[in-house]
């Protein structure tokens, strides 16, 4: 199977090798090594302060490791400049946040199109693609609505559409259901599952065992800055257990 960015199923999309991140005397990540293949759906779980968000920041290029190497889509993030990291984020990844992070003064359509315009697409081209994505994610009728007037689930769908705008190799989701009611959360979970079903590589950071069970085929448990456990998930069993 070929995913959205032309990766074969067993290509390595993310490769972290002995990554360490210190904040002063405190080691948020302590020698983490991790590989994620194309088309995989991986959930990173762990208690607060375990280092899972720092791990996500390393993969997304929002932060740099103190030591170790981070390769995403074949690019070594450690060697990239700030501009290089920005271009990497533009082309290689899409991000979904717990609190959506939409621009309040743009309508839903323009929030999505923005990501396309940043890579140089014309406004009309970007809006056309954004409109298609909104249709695919079931929010086609919310194009002109501003974020303040959207429900939580709708906002997260808009954020997801924005993340998919440039056909990223890797979709990163940071507690994507954390700020949603259960019904909206279910919708977002289904959306992520559908995307993964289409070959989209997923890396989800979550506290929610239900989300991990439903959306991930692999769960990486982090504790004290180290990977405590890395296991595959049997979907049928896991989903039942999570319920």
């Amino acid at each position: 199977m070929t995913n959205t960015d032309g990766y074969e199923e067993h290509d390595i999309v993310v490769q972290l090798t002995d990554v360490r991140k210190d904040f002063g005397d405190y080691a948020a990540l302590d020698g983490v090594s991790l590989e994620i293949g194309a088309g995989e759906s991986v959930a990173v779980m762990g208690p607060s302060g375990s280092g899972k968000s720092t791990l996500l920041n390393m993969v997304s290029g929002l932060d740099r490791p103190t030591s170790g190497s981070v390769l995403v889509g074949g690019e070594d993030l450690v060697g990239l400049s700030e501009k290089g990291l920005a271009l990497f984020r533009r082309r290689r990844i899409g991000m979904i946040f717990q609190f959506f992070n939409l621009l309040d003064d743009l309508p839903a359509l323009d929030n999505i199109a923005l990501a396309g315009q940043l890579v140089g697409q014309k406004a009309s081209t970007a809006r056309k693609r954004a409109s298609e994505l909104m249709g695919e994610l079931g929010i086609a009728d919310r194009k002109d609505i501003h974020p303040a007037s959207l429900s939580g689930g709708e906002r997260q769908r808009v954020a997801t559409a924005r993340a998919l705008m440039n056909r990223p190799a890797l979709l990163l989701a940071d507690e994507p259901t954390g700020a949603l009611d259960s019904r909206s959360g279910d919708q977002v979970m289904q959306l992520l599952m559908d995307l993964n079903g289409l070959g989209q590589t997923l890396l989800i950071v979550t506290h929610d065992p239900r989300l991990a069970a439903q959306c991930a085929r692999r769960v990486v448990e982090v504790a004290d800055g180290r990977i405590a456990r890395d296991r595959s998930v049997n979907h049928a069993v896991a989903t039942k257990a999570a319920r």
Binding site: N57, D63, M95, Q98, F99, N101, L102, A123, H146
Partner: protein, 776 residues
Amino acid sequence: MSAVWRASRAAVKRRRLQTFVLGVVVLVSSAMAVATLGLLAAVSGPFDQAYSAARGAHVVAEFDSSKATAAQIVHAANAPEVEAVAGPYPEAVLHSPSETGDHPAGLPGSFTLVGRDRPDTPVDTLVLSAGRWATGPGEIVMNEPSYIGPMQIKSEHEVVTPDGVRLKIVGYAASASQSAGGWVTPDQARALHSASLQMMYRFRDAGSDAALKAGTAAATQGLPSDALTGTSTYLAIKANLAKGPNTYVPFLTVFGVLGLIVSVLIVGNVVSGAVVSGFRHIGVLKALGFTPNQVTAVYLVMVTFPAVIGCALGSVIGSLVGGKLVRQAFFGIFGSDLVLDRAAVPTWVHPVVLIGMPVLVALSALIPAMRARRLPAAVAISAGSVQQTGRGPMVQRRLGGSRLPRPVSLGLGWPFARPGRTALTLSTVVLGVMTVTMALGISASVVRFGQLQNQTDRIQVRIDLSDPQWNPPGPTHSDDQVFALLRSLPGTAHVSAQSALETRMTGSSAILRVGVESGDTAQLHPDLVRGRWIEGPNEVVVSSEFWHRHKVSLGDTITLDSSDGPQPQKIVGEIVGGWDVTTLDWHRFIPLSPVRRAQSFSVQLTKGTDPQAYAAAVARTDPGLNAAVNNASDTIEKVIISVVSTLTVMLIIVSGLGVFNTVVLNTRERRKDLGMLKSIGMTPRQVIAMVVTSVAALGAVGGIVGAPLGILAHRIIIPMTGRGTGLDLPDSLLHVWNWPTVALLAFSGSVIAVLGAYLPARGAAKAPVAEVLRTE
């Protein structure tokens, strides 16, 4: 420590950068306020104090002793309007007196001698700076301004009258009322053919010309109508001295007011920004039990703290700069020795500024702080941040569809999200551009004024003749020979000669400075404000200062003392500066001049002649001819330009800080948006472009609005300065603008905005985003 103080201190610590900006802005404004108020006070304060201490005469009157007796004059002065009198004293006028001894200071062509028996009179009290009072025949006390320095009594120093009477100088004193050139005993004055009596008055009401006229009328009632031959008032002396500070007051006032407005705008912006971004904080304060008044107080104290520190430092700086400026303002003005010792920023200015500025800051903060007061706690806590309102979304939608790069179109939309803040920032930029424009205009006008004064456009070489008394042997050529010599040199187009003397005008006891010219004056005369240049005998042009002081008109006749008696002269024109009166009657007036010949020559060169080489050629022919290229610029010109430049830089900094503050507020409020944009691939350069664009557009608008306002302010200030200094300035001083300059000035708004925005934009581009994206 009270809860309000603790919360305010925490707020100050949280907003260190804005606190610093606020402190700097208040510092600059306070310094300008102190300097401006100091100069405003200097217009009259030092003179009033000094004149009052010297019991200076409000009116010095001259009576024809053949028409009124001393007893009649004293009797008439017994009027309720009169507070005190001194006199009447016999007065004599010496024409062309001379001096003996080394290095004489030079006597005026018409020298007024007053016979006075004592110095400590109730009006025009004199203090001897050297020697003693004249007590017998053949003795004289000279009126010497104190700035000349300590005088020494030497036996060989004498004044010799035209009749050969020798008067030994026995003392020196200075008259605040400028009542005489020297004093002798009354008997000596009568012996010198005194024909008039001098009477000095102080009136109960002396606040205006009208009051002085009324007082004089009351004090001379009952005297024969033609007995009073002349008067001079202290207001003329005061107006002459006020010229100094009045040169600076108009533009300093405008700069000061602009500084205050910018400060108020920035304070309002800082506090409203703090309130808007601190809704949750306000909610927490209220939930903790802070009363609405205490919440208001937290915000007021937050801004008053840096304001007080900025104000204190600004007052010190303003006092130092202002004090220097006040002293500089009086420098070189006739009679300034009276006020130089008292020329300082008065004490009352400091409490006014130290209290006024923080109060002004607190008042500016009050409106936004009241918003915090009114906000219900629950609403504040739940609000977190303020939703975007106004036309922002609509504008962003349109910009999103434009062909502009997305960071640029996003930045262009920012100002519409916060219209209030945008208006305040725009006003700051407008005032900044207005200041730059005005400053440029003032500087250009001052330079042009200097060119007019020095005639650098038509006179390329000036030749001063050495005074043989000071630099013997002096020129070897006579005036006619110098004319012939200069005309024979290659490159000479036109030549004129000048000399100056002091004489009297009938109807006034004040000394008049007369310029006498000859040669090609038709080609080399200064620009006229009105009327025409002298074309015939008994015609004069007068200075603007003379024009206003004596309220004359074209065609009026004035009578000057000349070598062959009083001479009526018709006023045919007015020039900006120069001598009180300029005449071409060389042979009639030159005998009254101290050197009795030309003091300088002016030369216009033919095109292509090197002035430096020409001056050198002149000097080679006669060592007594000091030739120099005419490119002089006045000290006052340099001072004004440096003061204007300094103030402009300060106001640009303040204006830039206003923009800086707005961008800091915007980027802090939008840190989450910025984080998200970076997370989806906005590069640091694009972030900078977006943030800078958000104010560059405001800067462009500010420039387009500010430049014409600056031109307007320039058109108001220059004539105001002219009026303040008693000059009618020609229109050419206002015509200093051209389109490229105006276009550049309009562009300066964008420059101010970009300079103010760049640092916070760079900070926003570098700020870590991981944390901010995870918090709500």
